[in-house]
Symmetry: D2
Subunit: 166 residues, 4 copies
């Protein structure tokens, strides 16, 4: 069983025609659509929470996320998260996992909303869901074809691409 | 480095407005599009060949596919293949791999063409590309969330879904 | 009030993953989706019937279509039809309209299914729905930017494009 | 010959993954894509200009737009414009057309970017392009199935829908 914790971020954004902008909706529709062809075969449970652009995430949100992971019955946890502060949440989670655990936690997200073009978002999520079965305990980031320990990968903000550090 | 061998199948089909039908084009456009967000980070080389609906694959095609895999410099090989005879090609490859080798071969494909809805095709391909890094030598099928030794997975033709055997 | 008579054709085709082919479904989902942004403002009623690839249309189908148009309360009638025999249905309708009437009948359709790429199908349908308000009684074809009396337009089968005759 | 003047607005917006927002690009790609199936048959020339969200349009932009229309050789002019101040540009154009002319000017746009979902944008543009051939001189708005003199139609901001006035 894999626990997916959906915190929002670009992955989930949808266009609101009345507001004329992209918003993070308080639902898991994008995640469910990305997993549609997988659902029956892999036991996955989704927890939706926070539902924010990661630039708006506060320390209280990160604490809540850590508690959510700590409280999950599953050892395999995939977190959908905005890309801008994914590294900060990963560090917060890593401190906790180091002490507590045997959990394999993989953070993922997207640069382009699933609702605008589903390819990158689907690719990132599926690489996280696939890799989590093979990893040792720890906190990882799965983005743009890489699945690496969280402190070996970083977002290149000019290119809009996650890259291996060093 | 991962070698992708693209043999055609539904994954690649595109609508031909003049013919009024879906055709398997002799190119790798769907594969390249599915890998667009991954390309820079993962060393992937694509070999296009055969380009057939798998119902039209002949024994000579399967022999050519085995030779293609045998000749690849890479140990990690992902094969995009029509779903209807994926099991037969997997068995042909398995006989050869058992004798020869240390190669990890993962077959994948799609029930819905990438050009019609990219989600399932992208998910299947990315699960293959992700898993191939972690697997022991052998021949596997990656479809619909499952990555299993080729003789532990089968296509349920009524549901249009690959399932674990037994 | 505009009456839309949906007879099937490529406009409506959808991919059936189990069959592995495009089928003409016995519903009006593509038409409704193409009209979603128009619905509230224009009084439109949809009649679904025949639901065939137009190559499979028989004389009995054409007779049924003429009766459907004759029986419609609305003077403005848009017919969604396969492109291959649109001209034959138009001639059948024209014979009848010439005798009977004040009806403005516009046939339209698509070379690419709405479900694969909605742009051409939407464009053709909206040009028919828009033009039908301005036309004199008669039978017209609205395809690819042209709205012309049915005997002044023809399908160029090499290009997959409707063209003005002469 | 129809002159299309593309001033930007939501119709043209595209997602910029680096900025993480929708932007009005300084090109006519959305318009060209919406017209792809029409191009060969209808003589259309596109002038790109201003390229703004209509909330950011200034009086100088409106003056420039009037000059652009005045200077066009074509009598049939379709203007792609943001929906929020479409009424103000229409009034500015109407004052000028009343004095000068025989031009038929139709403003159109979209609530949803063509790049996110092409159906509404295509429908609005095609209704404008189709109707402009049949209209008397004047300034019109073509949105959501309606093609009306500009002072008989208004944007319902709660519904995100243009409606007939009165």
């Amino acid at each position: 069983m894999i626990r997916i914790i959906n915190t929002g971020g670009t992955f989930n954004k949808r266009y609101d025609p009345i507001a004329g902008t992209l918003v993070v909706p308080a639902d898991d529709r994008a995640v469910e659509a990305a997993l549609a062809s997988v659902g029956g075969n892999v036991e996955i449970a989704i927890t939706g929470t926070i539902y924010k652009d990661s630039l708006e995430m506060e320390e209280a949100d990160r604490a809540a996320l850590c508690e959510e992971v700590a409280g999950a019955e599953e050892d395999a946890v995939v977190i959908i998260h905005g890309t801008d502060t994914m590294d900060r949440s990963a560090r917060a989670l890593a401190a906790w996992v180091q002490v507590a655990g045997k959990k394999r936690v993989v953070l993922t997200g997207a640069m382009v909303p699933f609702s605008i073009d589903p390819v990158e978002a689907t690719a990132n999520l599926i690489s996280a869901v696939t890799a989590v079965e093979y990893l040792d305990p720890g906190v990882y980031v799965a983005m743009h074809g890489l699945v690496l320990p969280h402190d070996e990968i970083t977002k290149n903000r000019e290119l809009g691409l996650f890259e291996r550090i060093g």
